[in-house]
Assembly symmetry: C2
Homo-oligomer: 511 residues x 2
């Protein structure tokens, strides 16, 4: 049986325990892990590394590079042992360490980690630790459920440790399309012209010699817990689909939509479920993460082809998809993130991109990463790669958070990830603001009128009107620009007239 | 003589006066003008349009699209008659109108105007008004000293009015490389792989029928007044060249540098003059504007090839270059801005990009457009196209402005055009901050230590240290984030302890 997974006999001798593999990881090393949104990441070795470090009781820090977010078996378990962490994460333990300044988190555009390695902008990889479906006769690694940065880490590393996952079905073989972008100065045009164009290989050339050891595992990916759509996310999805219908009526889109990209999460899921019961058909995806809803759409015959970077599924969907992958393999391809998120391709294909905002300011700048200016949430991920190069860039968010104590539309956002030059359309459960071709002042009115929660509109107009008195292309009152965030920090609410909660006042009295 | 410029006899009958041409421009129309950084723009017709509008004394507003900034004969003269203006300007009269809210200025990435037209995101062009060197036998237009958006406007317009410029020498013919990117969904990989690859035509297909009229002019481009390098800009240039030398020593760059891009202005000029007396050779440019210094470098045998979007020259240099263009034509090519600024190409070639910041915050975000948050200066131009896709993105600025009353390094910039994810290196006359691979906290120390003016370092550290107490990936004190700008607005200085100038106080007493 193992011969179907390890296709060159000499490799059998390289099978080691996870403890042995972990012993090769030394303090100060840079490790390039496979994995993208908890898919296709190594499961056993990272845990063994942490256990070994804990047992040794000596200072131990490594740099941890991945594709994007990875399972707690890396990001939670290793949080105390990380020096540099890049390019994306979404783990609550790791987030705490990052915000305390204990982990040096470098928040990168997901298309750019390979280039950063190539140009020496970040430390090079000592050892790549990658999950594999199989290793071919010539020592090429067949990845499992994600593309990620795996091929870049393998190329850049001195040695490769493979976690061979017997639980991932061999039917996944062939789903990958691994193309080498090449070095600056030697790059050729990427030949991809349609979402289903195959331009690369199905495995990553590695070489028998470079493989230092193989650890066998049978653990499946950490399943994604889906946040069920609620009334607001369903309304956002409805607005978004109606906006697309209006664009078709206006002749700005054809009935066959351009390829879609969508970020992870409940709104994206709600939008895709909206497509399920719609007139749209022959949908194409050129996206990062293929979630449950993509497979529902394939089952319903709605998707012509889905190109993604990872299969990120719930427990139930994983059972179905992995056991019947023959039903899906002609409809999809998985690519490394320097291809799934590639600006050249995104702008060539002319994507409709749908990403989630934490907050939006009245002029259309978007914060995707920070809470109240300071605290890192997850990271920018692919939102910058997609938004900047989209044919039609859309951001979605609920108009309020924390029971209305936070307005997602604010005078000035506390961190800027996407500038006014890039954000075309904003959708909340209140409606759609199409900002294309508008000046900042015109955008403000659209955003307040169409997207802000009614309970914050008056406050927003008050700011905008007072700012407008001062003139300028982008009117602001800098002394009040962050007053809403400051008020939230002090009183627990962005609402004007809010006072600190009683318990806080009492605390003050006690002191 | 005219037959060398108007190569189909039927077109001779289309020669009209500028007044007649102006009479075709109606209230409410959208006009697509040729021109990029005051090069290759129509000179006579815009003035005639303004004169006609003034004489008529009736409400008259048109939308004015260009390549980038254009001469006062468009932007100053027509400022009162503009509704929408895009995608870039640098005219002081127009700037005033924009900041009063009288002109609807849409500040776009220069690579994106063509796409905005193509997708219907902005009103389509009624009439294109374009300067030509000649019109070919099949009605193709040969542009003069800039690529700009001319080909997109001609394609999108119903009619084209040509300003045939007899003062531009016919030796310019052949310098253009006009490639059609194509519509979304039909785009092919752009075949360009080196700065000197010719991939397009030397003229813009227009058609004899589409040409409504021809106005003859003999006015040369408005010459560029160069700001002479001063001690600070020379020091910035020296730091920058030394940084490149260090990168070569570290093996991150080869001795033959990747192609360079540089924004307009005195620092860029100083940097290029620095190359003149350096060991660097075989330089390649893939840039927007080719200024005087580029020709000095060609004369010195330092430049292998320069691809640009426009020839933007001083009076003296214009005389030399235009009268002896045969010395330069093998060394350069002019491209439309959707090619000169194309993300696909920029990322493929791996450019070193050098652009100017208005202000930089301690975490490496850059403001390129706004003064004190409100007032538009010029626009983002190509800085976003280049920075986002660069191999090595560099921003330059003097560490202080207004005799030290403004620090260019601030706690929080008042407008964000380039985010921390994109800005790799900052250079001031104080030194170089290499931000690659650093966390925001690490970047802050680098920027304060290496780039901030000594007289502001203590103030910057005070902010950073207090903010750091609050924790977070990107420590901020939002209630104080804009205190420096507010102080400048109130007292005329960002320095702590500054008080309003006496005359202001007296004014207050009078009231």
């Amino acid at each position: 049986m193992l011969s179907s997974r390890i296709r060159h006999a000499s490799l059998l001798e390289k099978i080691v325990t996870k403890e042995t593999a972990a012993s090769w990881i030394k303090d100060g090393m840079t490790i390039g892990f496979s994995g993208f949104t908890s898919s296709g990441d190594a499961k056993e070795i990272p845990v063994a590394i942490a256990e070994r470090a804990r047992a040794a009781g000596k200072p131990f820090k490594i740099n941890v590079y991945t594709g994007a977010s990875v399972a707690p078996t890396i990001d939670s378990v290793l949080a105390d042992y990380m020096n540099i962490r890049l390019p994306f994460q979404s783990d609550k333990d790791l987030r705490k360490s990052i915000n305390k300044g204990n982990v040096n988190y470098i928040d990168q555009h997901l298309s750019e980690t390979g280039d950063a390695l190539l140009t020496g902008a970040i430390p090079s990889v000592d050892i790549a630790v990658v999950e594999a479906l199989a290793i071919t006769e010539d020592g090429s690694i067949i990845p499992t459920t994600s593309g990620g940065n795996t091929h870049n880490y393998i190329k850049n590393a001195k040695e490769v440790i493979v976690e061979l996952n017997l639980a991932q079905p061999l039917s996944l073989e062939g789903v990958h399309d691994i193309y080498e972008i090449g070095a600056f100065g030697e790059r050729k045009p990427i030949p991809l012209q349609a979402v289903d164009d195959r331009v690369g290989r199905t495995s990553i050339p590695t070489g028998l010699d470079k493989i230092k050891g193989i650890v066998i595992t049978e653990q499946l990916d950490d399943p994604k817990t889906l946040v069920e759509p609620d009334e607001e996310t369903n309304t956002i999805a409805r607005h978004l689909l109606n906006f697309l219908r209006d664009e078709i009526k206006a002749g700005r889109l054809s009935e066959k939509l351009p390829p879609l990209q969508s970020g992870v999460g409940s709104v994206a899921n709600a939008v895709f479920h909206g497509f399920l019961h719609s007139e749209f058909h022959d949908l194409e995806l050129y996206s990062e993460v293929l979630q449950d809803s993509v497979f529902d759409l394939i089952d319903a015959g709605k998707i012509r082809f889905a190109s993604g970077g990872a299969l990120t599924l719930s427990k139930e969907k994983m059972d179905v998809v992995l056991n019947h992958f023959e039903n899906y393999r002609d409809k999809m391809m998985l690519r490394p993130q320097d291809m799934s998120n590639n600006p050249e391709i995104i702008r060539r294909l002319g994507l409709i991109t749908i990403n989630t905002a934490i907050e939006v300011d009245i002029y259309g700048n978007v914060n995707s990463t920070h809470i109240m200016g300071n605290k890192m949430m997850n990271g920018i991920g692919g939102s910058g790669d997609f938004t900047r190069n989209a044919r039609l860039s859309i951001f979605v968010t609920k108009s309020i958070a924390k029971n209305g104590d936070i307005s997602s539309i604010v005078p000035f956002i506390s961190h800027v990830d996407h500038t006014e030059h890039d954000v075309m359309v904003v959708v909340t459960e209140q409606g759609v603001a199409d900002l294309r071709g508008l000046t900042p002042r015109q955008r403000a009115i659209k955003l307040i009128e169409n997207c802000a929660h009614p309970s914050y509109r008056e406050q927003l107009y008050a700011y905008f009107n007072e700012a407008s008195q001062r003139g300028g292309q982008t009117p602001h009152i800098l002394e009040k620009a962050f007053a809403w965030h400051v008020r939230f920090n002090q009183t627990g609410s962005m609402r004007e007239g809010s006072t600190p909660p009683l318990v806080e006042k009492e605390k003050v009295n006690v002191n």
